[in-house]
């Protein structure tokens, strides 16, 4: 091994310092906190216990994880079903149109996501745009209850996270050499066969990256379920917020955060296994 390469790079010092102070120490703090006990009125008691972790496997909490996971899986699935074909067609457009479409995908990010979700509420509520329009057209007589249900939450999630899926799948599809698909067609493969055996495997890294980028935030985007779902669903994000701020049970909040991080790591682990990438470069 070359000795020069082993030398500690001085330029990395600020970065390492940043990592230790803002990442490592807080993580260790959360981990330690999760093994303490809630004090009667305020704060924590410095006493080692597994209480928080024991409470976490009760049916109520298991249902919260299941609900969060289910919503995250559905969101990922739908964004993929919408995002992948979208990226595919965008990649076929002329250079100028392509950059215009991609710009339009990114434009909503310039507005706060909370404001955009309020926009959805205006569309969906009983005296909202959709209901007023349908009644005016004579399609329905009484307003549909579009807001405050699981469907509305799902729509909001898909809307908020779709750009992540589009951008990651697009970057993979764009790199795909069209002559490979042509070669498959020349050799007798049908449209679908060429798509499934050439296009999809060649863009797998982008698909996986998009799934990770959608799945992980969708476990924690609690304000969407609060606003569009009328706060009637309890997701992992809501639960952590409640434990920390309402129940003032910091150890429980910390333990739940640890579990959430473990879930995230698991998803990234699956990503690395499936995509064959060792780091996370493919995501970026």
């Amino acid at each position: 091994m070359n000795k020069r390469q082993n030398r500690f790079p001085a330029a990395a010092v600020p970065f390492l310092l940043w990592t230790v102070v803002f990442v490592a120490i807080p993580l260790i703090y959360i981990l330690c906190m999760s093994f303490l006990k809630r004090a009667q009125t305020w704060g924590v008691v410095a006493e080692f216990s597994f209480d928080s972790y024991a409470r976490m496997v009760t049916p109520t909490y298991l249902k919260v994880y299941a609900q969060s996971m289910w919503l995250a899986v559905l969101t990922t699935l739908f964004t993929l079903l919408i995002g992948y074909p979208f990226s595919y067609f965008v990649s076929r457009l002329s250079e100028r149109r392509r950059s215009l479409v991609l710009l339009l995908v990114v434009v909503p990010f310039w507005t706060n996501s909370l404001v955009r979700i309020y926009g959805w509420m205006i569309l969906l509520r009983s005296q909202g745009v959709i209901n007023t329009l349908l009644i005016a057209l004579g399609v329905i007589e009484t307003p549909l209850k579009l807001l405050y249900n699981f469907g509305a939450v799902l729509v909001g999630m898909i809307y908020a996270l779709l750009p992540f899926m589009i951008l990651s799948t697009y970057s993979a599809i764009e790199k795909l050499d069209p002559s490979l698909v042509e070669a498959a067609r020349d050799l007798g493969a049908g449209r679908w066969r060429a798509f499934w055996t050439v296009t999809v495997p060649m863009t797998r890294a982008g698909i996986m990256a998009g799934c990770v980028l959608v799945f992980i935030p969708s476990v924690g985007l609690f304000f969407i379920s609060d606003l569009l779902g009328g706060a009637k669903t309890m997701l992992l994000g809501n639960l952590i917020k409640n434990e920390l701020l309402t129940a003032r049970d910091w150890p429980m909040g910390a333990a739940l955060s640890v579990v959430m991080m473990a879930m995230t790591l698991l998803v990234i682990g699956i990503y690395q296994k499936c995509s064959g990438e060792r780091g996370l470069e493919g995501i970026l």
């Binding site: 390469q5 790079p9 990395a12 970065f15 990592t19 990442v23 809630r38 009667q40 009125t41 305020w42 704060g43 109520t60 909490y61 249902k63 919260v64 609900q67 706060n112 996501s113 909370l114 509520r125 009983s126 005296q127 209850k145 807001l147 405050y148 992540f164 980028l213 992980i216 935030p217 924690g220 985007l221 609690f222 304000f223 609060d226 009328g230 706060a231 009637k232 669903t233 309890m234 994000g237 809501n238 639960l239 409640n242 434990e243 920390l244 701020l245 309402t246 129940a247 003032r248 049970d249 429980m252 060792r278 780091g279 996370l280 470069e281 995501i283 970026l284």
Partner: protein
């Protein structure tokens, strides 16, 4: 080097995700500076950082919910005294206590009764010097001597609130009398209540003839069962703006805080307010000076300033809560909500229930998962 690059990419990814998912809470807790920009006089005064006669810097750090102290009152204070106000806001009482305990330098905090009780137990409050608050006598004694400050040593009550029922008579064909009516099948999928474990489990306890502050697990279990049967009637849970659902016709009946009731009534005077026959919950938001306050004299001056009858009435007219100031009543303009004395008399304070908070929270989580 490869290793570092990998860690860096991972971190970047994590930050992107955090930024994407974390846009909710933080916007509510930023600091802003109010006063000083309203007229030439105040600008001249605020640019003068020389200490007042007491040696105190002319600054007052206020910590409370956003907009709870009206802007014009703050500007008037700055104009009259030359004391610059730094207004920091929190979004929950718990956030306030966490920041105060972490050593936040605030001179005046306005928060809810139960959290003040906890803060008092943690020795975070400074005793008030009543000689510096000549208007102290304006406080309505009905709002004094409560559990969080039995000797009136630490707090000045600012506003009181009582959550009430409000319904739309166009959507209901019977008269609503109390909490029990919420369980009526006529309200299927058309109730909005605040997204708050203590208040909603509290109203359920009231229908069972129990206290809002019940800690007995058996009784809480009973309440839980009853609460679960309410789920089919719940259209939405909303803590911040439930009146929107009442005004847009999304819901027929709502349970919400006093200020929200008045907001709804102002927009639609046909809505009917109900003082539930089972009894009311009650809360007082009060001001206190933290033990570590850097400018306690300025804080005393401010308390005296807002206790002035006319000013206090002006505040009440803007914040839509119930006034705690006897001297203010003659100046009040907004009489939209007059709560009968006997209703207030029977009202019960919502207090900290210690470790039973966990039980309340678990019931709430289960209720949502129903």
């Amino acid at each position: 080097m490869k290793q570092i690059k990998r860690i860096f990419t991972a971190l970047l990814a994590a930050c992107t995700l955090a930024a994407a998912s974390g846009c909710n809470g933080d916007s509510a807790s930023s600091s802003q500076i109010i006063g000083g920009a309203d007229g030439p006089t105040s600008i001249v005064l605020t640019n003068d950082p020389r200490p007042a006669e007491g040696g105190e810097e002319k600054v007052l750090n206020i910590f409370t919910w956003a907009t709870y102290f009206p802007d014009d009152i703050l500007a008037e204070f700055t104009e009259q005294t030359g004391i610059k106000i730094n207004y920091s806001n929190f979004s929950s009482n718990e956030e306030m206590l966490m920041k105060l305990e972490a050593g936040g330098e605030y001179d005046l905090v306005l928060a809810s009764d139960y959290i003040i009780d906890i803060a008092r137990g943690e020795n975070l409050l400074a005793q008030l010097d009543q000689s510096k608050i000549p208007n102290f006598g304006n406080i309505n004694p009905a709002f004094q001597g409560k559990f969080y400050d039995p000797e009136n040593q630490y707090t000045v009550p600012y506003a009181a609130g009582i959550p009430l029922l409000i319904y739309n008579p166009d959507m209901v064909d019977f008269e609503v009398k109390g909490f029990e009516d919420l369980w009526n099948p006529a309200f299927a999928d058309s109730i909005v209540v605040m997204d708050d474990a203590r208040n909603v489990i509290g109203l359920t306890l009231k229908t069972l003839g129990k206290s809002l502050n019940e800690t007995d697990p058996a009784v809480l279990d009973q309440a839980k069962e009853k609460l679960f049967s309410l789920k089919p009637n719940i259209r939405a849970l909303d803590y911040d703006s439930p009146y929107n659902l009442m005004l847009s016709g999304e819901t027929a009946i709502g349970y919400m805080f006093t200020s929200q009731i008045i907001t709804a009534l102002n927009e639609n005077p046909n809505l009917k307010v109900v003082f539930p026959e089972e009894g009311l919950g009650f809360g007082i938001d009060s001001c206190f000076i933290p033990a570590q306050a850097p400018h306690p004299d300025n804080a005393h001056q401010f308390l005296d300033f807002i206790l002035d009858g006319q000013r206090s009435a002006h505040i009440t007219d803007q914040i839509y809560y119930i006034s705690c100031n006897s001297a203010a009543s003659e100046y009040l303009e907004n009489q939209a909500l007059v709560i009968p004395d006997e209703a207030i008399e029977g009202a019960e304070f919502m207090q900290d229930v210690g470790s039973a908070t966990q039980t309340y929270n678990d019931i709430w989580a289960e209720f949502k998962l129903q």
